[in-house]
Symmetry: C2
Subunit: 185 residues, 2 copies
């Protein structure tokens, strides 16, 4: 019995809890129960709850964004990358639960700090893609913000009110790609 746990075991379990129950579910005692351990283990690896939360968010920061970007970079430059990104991101209904939990968390300073970094990284990358298809700098930036907002809202809807989303995914994706990649003015 009593398999020893690592910091990584804790943050992994915390990520699951985060996706399922939000920031509030990243709580030491319930996690300990799920891991078949007690608080003693948690307070050995982490100073307190906030330290566990911070470690969990930093792990999420690493894993969430870069994997998607790597995947997109496999495509040739230009429209193909934007399309690949939209498709990848409109799919995977359960893949984006963690960020939803973060974005609406009652202003914990640890959360807002990391959310800001991740948001800027993603929008910046998106703006780069728009630059590749001929958008000027400010236009690319504005369109990137719009596209990222659409992504977030879409994930929100998929979670909170999936009934209102289109059932036929194919034409929806096409429309989104079409509307969001058309050049301005």
């Amino acid at each position: 019995m009593a398999v020893r746990l690592t910091r990584s075991d804790w943050t992994a379990a915390a990520l699951v809890a985060l996706a399922e129950g939000g920031v509030g579910a990243v709580a030491i005692e319930p996690l300990a129960a799920r891991l078949g351990a007690t608080k003693g283990s948690a307070y050995w690896h982490f100073a307190n709850r906030e330290a566990l939360l911070r470690a969990t968010l930093e792990r999420w920061e690493q894993e969430s964004t870069e994997s998607v970007i790597r995947q997109v970079e496999a495509q040739p430059e230009g429209h193909a990358r934007l399309r690949a990104l939209f498709e990848s991101v409109l799919d995977h209904p359960t893949a984006h639960l963690a960020e939803l939990a973060l974005l609406s968390a009652p202003a914990e300073p640890v959360v807002t700090e990391i959310v800001n970094r991740v948001t800027e990284r993603r929008i910046g990358y998106l703006a780069g893609l728009y630059g590749q298809i001929g958008f000027g700098r400010p236009e690319a930036r504005r369109r990137a913000v719009l596209a990222y907002a659409a992504y977030l809202g879409n994930a929100q809807l998929r979670r909170a009110a999936p009934k209102s989303l289109p059932t036929a995914r194919r034409p929806y994706v096409e429309d989104v790609v079409h509307a969001l990649t058309r050049p301005p003015r």
Copy 2:
């Protein structure tokens, strides 16, 4: 002293708390403290916490959506209404805090029930507006979903990562209107 409180006083205070601290902040004892009363009052007007939450959400349902729609209906049919809606909704940084709290609330059944109703109402109305400017039924519906998602995401960003939003609001609004009202294909 000791001004008597009504159900409406409680739901009003709960709405404020909801916007500020999320669903979790709709808690009886803190609200009682803010109202200068005690739990006795709350448990007189409401059976329990969930009843207070439900009453609060139903009030929000009434007040949030219809006021915006009335405002938009003052415009002439067609593009003017969509533009008015987008402008109204991209403004008012603090006006949409309650829904953000709701959309990412850890699956309380009361919340999801009402969020579903509100979402369907709004997307349905939006689809109607797109119909007025010549979109076919399915196209209007898909574009409405996209536009509503963009709205939600935008509100999210404004709250969680305002630094990443465009500083110059005017061209941003123009780009959004342009991208989201162009006819498909």
